[in-house]
Each structure stands twice: as structure tokens, then as C-alpha cells.
Symmetry: D4
Subunit: 148 residues, 8 copies
Amino acid sequence: MEWKVYLSGEIHTDWRQQLIQGCQANNLPVKFTSAVTDHEASDSAGDLLGAEQSNFWRDHKSAKVNNIRTKTLIEQCDIAVVRFGNKYKQWNAAFDAGYCAALGKPYITLHDEDIIHPLKEVDASAMAWTQTPEQVIEMLKYVVNSEF
Amino acid sequence: MEWKVYLSGEIHTDWRQQLIQGCQANNLPVKFTSAVTDHEASDSAGDLLGAEQSNFWRDHKSAKVNNIRTKTLIEQCDIAVVRFGNKYKQWNAAFDAGYCAALGKPYITLHDEDIIHPLKEVDASAMAWTQTPEQVIEMLKYVVNSEF
Amino acid sequence: MEWKVYLSGEIHTDWRQQLIQGCQANNLPVKFTSAVTDHEASDSAGDLLGAEQSNFWRDHKSAKVNNIRTKTLIEQCDIAVVRFGNKYKQWNAAFDAGYCAALGKPYITLHDEDIIHPLKEVDASAMAWTQTPEQVIEMLKYVVNSEF
Amino acid sequence: MEWKVYLSGEIHTDWRQQLIQGCQANNLPVKFTSAVTDHEASDSAGDLLGAEQSNFWRDHKSAKVNNIRTKTLIEQCDIAVVRFGNKYKQWNAAFDAGYCAALGKPYITLHDEDIIHPLKEVDASAMAWTQTPEQVIEMLKYVVNSEF
Amino acid sequence: MEWKVYLSGEIHTDWRQQLIQGCQANNLPVKFTSAVTDHEASDSAGDLLGAEQSNFWRDHKSAKVNNIRTKTLIEQCDIAVVRFGNKYKQWNAAFDAGYCAALGKPYITLHDEDIIHPLKEVDASAMAWTQTPEQVIEMLKYVVNSEF
Amino acid sequence: MEWKVYLSGEIHTDWRQQLIQGCQANNLPVKFTSAVTDHEASDSAGDLLGAEQSNFWRDHKSAKVNNIRTKTLIEQCDIAVVRFGNKYKQWNAAFDAGYCAALGKPYITLHDEDIIHPLKEVDASAMAWTQTPEQVIEMLKYVVNSEF
Amino acid sequence: MEWKVYLSGEIHTDWRQQLIQGCQANNLPVKFTSAVTDHEASDSAGDLLGAEQSNFWRDHKSAKVNNIRTKTLIEQCDIAVVRFGNKYKQWNAAFDAGYCAALGKPYITLHDEDIIHPLKEVDASAMAWTQTPEQVIEMLKYVVNSEF
Amino acid sequence: MEWKVYLSGEIHTDWRQQLIQGCQANNLPVKFTSAVTDHEASDSAGDLLGAEQSNFWRDHKSAKVNNIRTKTLIEQCDIAVVRFGNKYKQWNAAFDAGYCAALGKPYITLHDEDIIHPLKEVDASAMAWTQTPEQVIEMLKYVVNSEF
């Protein structure tokens, strides 16, 4: 069995690459998916449909185009990893966590200790809180192990 | 028909009271529910189960006790209003929005214009973006109107 | 038991009133709901959220505000009646029928014989095709009869 | 991952072929499905079950045979594209859109600007409104991109 | 709590009346629903929509009108009782049992011992097999008892 | 796409073989599944769990073992064909049809004209009524056609 | 709003009575339901359907009659409390917990500290672990509080 | 078709190996999955996330990490086998059975005769009770047989 793991959240550090490389190095039967992580491309995803004068509608169109992708990939994943960095609002990451919770989709949070209080509701519905990509890799090694 | 409206998010201003009073003044058939909005009470909701040495577990217990309430009330509501103030992380509000989105529960956001960009994913799945409690009241007046 | 009947479609004739009066005259335990049928009010439902320069976005906002109401009422109804007049596109009526079909919600169509061909997919998933409000009333009399 | 895209609506222009060729030219991992688009074949799909004297029942039988196919393919798709031409009622396209909306299946509309008003409810539940097959191709290129 | 009990199947004996009277005599908080049990009325339920020359389509229309009622009442019941007499095909009763099974709706069969073999699949998904209305009444007395 | 077709009902004629051979002869991308059709084997499916003195419990055990198979295969199929012969009760076939109906799984009935009246409820929820295996084959040829 | 609380598990101590009286003393808007807790009555619930020679089938019939009640009440509750005493297997309590977990129904466990290890999977899906009925009452007071 | 069979429960005997070898010896198209059965590894599954001073939280973390795996594999299986040994509480096995029951996932129990009474609720929702791995193998041979 191949496990599908969706990577949500922070796009300013290389945590996705660390996870992917770590799982490859361990030959884990894991396939990763994610939202588009190129900030510019993501913000302008709706521009191909025509220019907007209002910032709200430009954002709206782009967010919906992105949502075609993210909604589908989240609903198809077996596990989600939701990363919160120390900067920025990252409300989309919390939104994804709530989406997973409502679907009964198991998710793991990845964030530093100093934001555990504002993330308490997000962590309360998570299956685990991790602090480093290495911990996620270790956990996946255990979880997807095909031997009993 | 009585409409059940769940109020999620910011607890530091009186937007909930404004909404409730506005709907009462208009005799709307609306019943409001919400998480517990007393900050201290909410943070210590799990303390009755015994003290914890770790902040993480104290938060965890309290968040889960609160979740018994919020999960039930969100699943029973017809409409949610999700309020984002200009301060704080408010990840629980974004989490609630994601939860509503996955359930197909219609929700309305209530926030200022200067945070439309970080909220674009949350707004993309919302049925409306409002900027004042008055707008929410006007909208509810229209939506719950029992005359055709 | 009170049956909830949602009335979808054409707003330019008085078929809703005929249905309601006919059911009242027969003392049927039926409660009717509907989208807002005031054309002007419906088209401007989103205007309270601010003016739009683009027709598309004005329509978009209004349609979503209306959808808060219609989605909720359709999901709560026991039976829908979907009326197609001989004029206009009425794509929202066909949309409602498809929505009902996917939910497994029984619906009845009400339209003239000369449009049975373009409505064949809509009728194929309906529980009955009626041509007059009187037929709908007769059918409801039979269906909601509380005696066995 | 291969994305399954269902093509619904207008059968009198070659928009399906344009989409398919455009995606092939871009080597997109997309597989298209559709209702049977041969008008004659579709209208007579039920004739093999015996002749009918009534137009209604002939249409009914054919529409249900077609529905075995369309219902299955819509439920299995990841994305639907719903095309409205400028002629004809095309109620089946609006029906498919409503069906997708109720299932939470993301769909994109494809239609000219002059029918945005009658399609406002259909567009309100869509993830995007496009005006040309090229826009759909561009969007799919972005959405199904397997790189993050 | 009031329990809703749907009575499906045989219409040629007075088992429904026995059940209803027995539960009333015991003041059980039970409310019964059923398909229309007047054979003539049921067979002609669709006639109000116009005469049909084909027996198949006459039956088809009537069965669908009846289905508006039965589908709704079965989906709303807490328990179904499915009665098989010793005569007739009664495929609709077996159909109702299958419908309940797929919904996870608990149902009780009521039939004589000499038809246990042909009913083995229907009984296999039932919560109990009873042979007399008295047994059903006794069971309901136990099941709906509001004291622990 | 390979279509999964479940074959339910009568086991005393060779209609299953006719269907399978007809679809193979036409190279249709169809895969058939079915309950075990060996009557003796099916009736004794539970005997490996120990002998029973009561006929009811012997039947019960066997029916449940068979149900592990049939429930799984029905839930996984895209289309079911439900065959009613002219003899026997065949309540399991009607049960399967009801099960499909509740799941929204499209099914086709296959039976002679002289039993349309007792099967009217079963046919009312079917997508088509066929009278010969040839008709089913023709219909599948149309439905599973991979060209648009 | 009245909250429905299902009480599952141990029947040899008076924890249910303590909970009920404590909630009444606090005027909480809570309604309790439960399996039948009279051990003899529960074990013989199926005897009215006829005597059985095999212990397995006697238990089987009774357990299914009880299941009509418990399945319905669990699916209708808002919160379940699952009590494990220090004696007996109590597999039905763990079964109820698993049933709640799969339904996404929030449940609270009530058990002593010395059995936390064997209950770790049951506690992992619970919203809270309590050790005394007083804790459950305190928690319900907080959770069902109708003031924000 | 390959059948996915999840093996739940007792980890102190070699029943899993017997099942797997028996199915391999018979070339059955069956693929087995399971929780991690190494007792030490399972109990310490959460330790990689940091040490805990409280036994409850150590167990809690490990149980949740294990649950990522078990929840996913149970939801993906076609059939579950739930084994109860004669020793230990094995509440997780009963929990898994309840989880399967709520999902409508068919499961088979495997246990000795002397614990049929405490397991009566678990057996009541099972499709079969077996006493030896050989019986499970025989049953799977019958159930997954690809010939009709």
C-alpha cells in the first residue's frame, strides 16, 4: 500500500523538501501532495480569467482556483501534515486542519513550542504534534510499516 | 422555522452582543450559539480533571472539553458567522471555518478590509464577507425572512 | 407529521399561491418554503455588502446570499416542487433539481407538455411530472395522508 | 496522479475536442469523460427496450439509460467542466452543476459574458467561470501540476 | 422520546391494527407510519397525472408517487417492521428491508416459520424475527422503555 | 475505465453466462461479480462453523457468510442487474434492489412482462427494465462506450 | 437546547443515578438515555421470541434486541459517557466507544487510574477522561451552559 | 479483485501468521493489514515526540500515533477479523469491532466458546463467529471465490 500524505501550511522554509527526502532515503511507500507553494503563482492563479480592479475579487478568484486543487488532494490523502511557522497569519493552514477534522482525516501538526497556546484547538483534533521534520519522518516510518 | 446561527471567533469585542440585540430588535427567528467566550474559563476548562505540569497537556485537555461543545453546536447550526479581529492569531476561527466548509455548512466571515489577503482561502469558501455586525443583521433579515 | 415542501423555479405566475391555498383549503399538514421570490430583492441581495462595478460580481454576491437560504431550505425539505415556465432560461430551477437528485431528495416537476424534451434529464430523476398546481395538490393530499 | 475531468453540457460545438487536444498537447495527466454527445444516439438510447407511443416515456427511458452513464461518471470525476452555449435550454447542464454542488464536487463553468445573469446561481457554486477552452486548459495546467 | 415505527408489507390482514392497538393499550411512546394500505388507491396513485395505455407506465407512475411517501417515512423512522404473509410475491416488502439494511436502519421481520428459507437473506440483516404481532408489541415494550 | 457490474437474482437459468459472453464478444470493458450461484454451496456456507439443529439458525449463519460477499460486491459495483425469474420467491433479489436504491447505485431489472405489477416498486427505482439478456448487453454497449 | 447524553457501560454501581441527580440538582438542560441496565432483563431480552437450546443463539437474539435500542439512542445522542468498572470484561462498553468514534460522536470515559493502560486506545479517541461522576457533572455544567 | 482483510486483536499467539499462511497456501486473492503487533514498539510509538512524566499522556500519545495507522487501514479494508484471546482486557479489539459496526464494515470474530457471553454484543453485529483460524481460512476461500 502506498500512503498519500498532504503537506499543508508554511511555504517559506524547506520543510516539505526535508520530509520528502527523508522518506525517500528510508524508501517509505509514501507519496506527497501539496498546494502550489510558489507564492507568486498561487496569488495570481486566477489572473488567467481576466484582470480584477478589486483586490478582494482578485484574491477570491485565485483562492478558488487553488481550492480546486487543495480540496481534491486533501480529500484523497490518508494523512495530512499541517505546518505552522512562527511568522504570518497562516489561516489557510488552520482552515485545512479544520477541514481535515470534519472529514475525520488524521492530521499531524508541525510547529514550535512557543505557539502551542494559540494552536490548542488545532492540536486538540490532531493525531500528533511534532516539532521537527525528523519527527514526522520517524512517525511515518512507524505508521506505514508494512510488516506487522 | 427558527434558524440556528453559530458565532465563532474573536472574543475581545462585543460583536456577538450587537448581533444578538440587532436580531432581537428585528424579531428575527434566530437562535445564537457559541463557544464559551470567557477567556479564563475557556483556558481552564480541563482543570477540573486534575492539574497538569505541562502547558501543552493543560491546553490539550481544555481544548478538548471546549470541543465537545463547539463541535456539537457547529454541526447543529444552519449558518455560522466567523469573526476575525485585527489582533491575535485566531487560528481556532479559521479552523472552525474549515470545519464548516468540509460539512457544507454555509458560513459568513466578518472582518476588516486590511486582512482580506491572508483570509483569502477562508473567504473563498464563505457565502459572504461582511465588515460590520450591521451587515450581518441585514443579511440575516433577508435570509430568514419567512415570506417568499 | 408536518411535511416540508420546497417550491423552486418560476416566479412570474402565482403557482406558489395556488399550491399554498389549495393545501390550506384541504387542511394538509404541509409547510412551504421557497427562495425569495421578489425579483428585485433577490437580484440585489448582496448590495448591502457594498456596490460592485462588475455585473458578474454583483450577481455573484447576491446569488451567494440567496444560496444561504435556498441550500438550507432544500436540505431541510421532505419534497421539492420544481416549476418551469415557458419563458426564460430558469437554470436555477434545473440546478435545484440536480441538487435534490444528488441528495436523494424526492422532487416533482411542474411544467407544460411542450418542454418535455429539453427537460427529459430533469424529469428522469423526478418522482412525478405534473402539469398543473391542482395535480400537485391532489398528489400531496395522497402522499401526506396520515391514515394508512 | 491522474485527474478525472467530466465534460458536461453543449454538444453543438467542438469545445470538448479543444480541451482534450489542448491537454494532450501539454501532456497533462488528465482523463476526460462525458455523456454520449451524439444527439441522435442519446435521444434514442432507450429505444432498444421497445418502442413507445408517448414522447414523454420515450424521452424518459432514454434519459434514464443515459443517466446510468452520467451519474456514474460525475460521481467518479475530480473536476467537472459545465459548458453553456448561447442557444437551447441546456437544462441538463444546469442539472449536472446542481448535482456536482450537492456532492461537493468542484466544477468550472464555461460560457459567454452575455449569459452571466441567468447563470448566476450556477456560477455562485462553481470554482471558476471561464469564457474559452484555452482558459480551462490553462487552469488545468496549473491545478494538476504535480510539482509543488 | 417518541419512537417512529414504519410498518411495511402485507396489506391483507389486520396486523398493523393489532400492533397499533397493542401499543396504545400499553401507552407506549410509539408513532406508526406506513405506505398507503388501500390496494386500489395505491395502484391508482398516479392516475391523477393522466391515463396511460401501457400497464407498465401506469404502474410506474403510481409506484413513484407512492415512493415519495414511503422513502420519506422509512428514512425518518427509528425502527421498521416488515411483514411477509404466506401469499403473494411481496417484493416491495423485501425491497423495503434491503433499503433499511443499506441505511443501517434497524428492522424486525414478522412472518411464519414455513418461509424462513426464502427469507434467509432478509432475516440475516434484521434485528429480530417475530412470528406474531404480540411478539412485536412485547419487544417494543422492552425497547422503548424510558426507564433504564 | 473498467465498469463493475453486479449480477443479482435468479440462479436457475444461464442469463449470467449469456451476459458475460455477450460482453466479451463485444470486448466491453466490463467486469462481472455475483453472489455464489451454486445453490447447495450457498445454503451450506455457514456449515463450516459447526452444525445447527434449528433450520433458522443454519440459514441465518449461511446467509450472513454470503452477505460478507454480496454486501461488499454490491457496494463496489457501478451497475447492478437484478434478474427475477417466473418461479420462486426471490426475495433476496428484491432485497438487493432495495439495497442498491438506498445507496443510489443504478440498477437494471431483467424480467418478463407478466410480473411487472408485483415488481412495480422495484422497477420504479430502477434505471431500466429489460426483458432479455440481449437488451442488457446492448444497453451496456451504449453505457460503457468510452468514445463520447 | 436540550443535550442528549447516552450512558454506556458498567451496571453494577450507581454512577448513572449520581450523574442524573447531579445534573438535576444543577438544573442542567440534559436528558439521559441508556441501554436497559437490569442485567436479567437484558440477558433475556430475546426470550420472548422463543427458547433456544444453544447459549450462543440465546445471547445472540437478546443482544440484537438490545441493539435496536442502543444503536438508536447512541446515534441520537450529543455526548456519550462510557464507564469502565474495575471488574468484568465490559467489551460492550469498548464496542460502544468504537461505535461513537466512527460516527464522530464525542464521548467521555469514566474509569479509575489503574486501567489507563488497557484503555489507552479507548481514551485516545475520547474527548476527556474522568475519574468520578462529579467530574462528569462539572464538565457537563460547563459544556451545556447556554450563556456564552 | 483483491480483498483487503484487517486483523485486529490479540497479539500473543500466532493466529495472524496461521491466517496469512493458510490463505497463501490456497492462493487466495487476499491482502492482510494490521496494527503494529510488536507490543514494545506499539507502547512506545509516541516516545519519539519527547518523554512524558505521566503514564496517561505517554499512553495517549502512543495510542494516537497507532490510531493514524489503524483507523486508515480499518477504513480501507473489506473485511475485518477481530480476535479475542482468553486473557487480558483487549478493549482495543472491542473498540475496533464497534468502529467497524458503525462504518457498516463486515467483521468476523475469532474466539473460544467460553467467552461468548461477555462478547454477545460484539458477536451480535458480526457477520460470523469463528473458533479457529482454519474456519476463517475456509470462510475466506468461500467468500473471495472469483467464480460464481
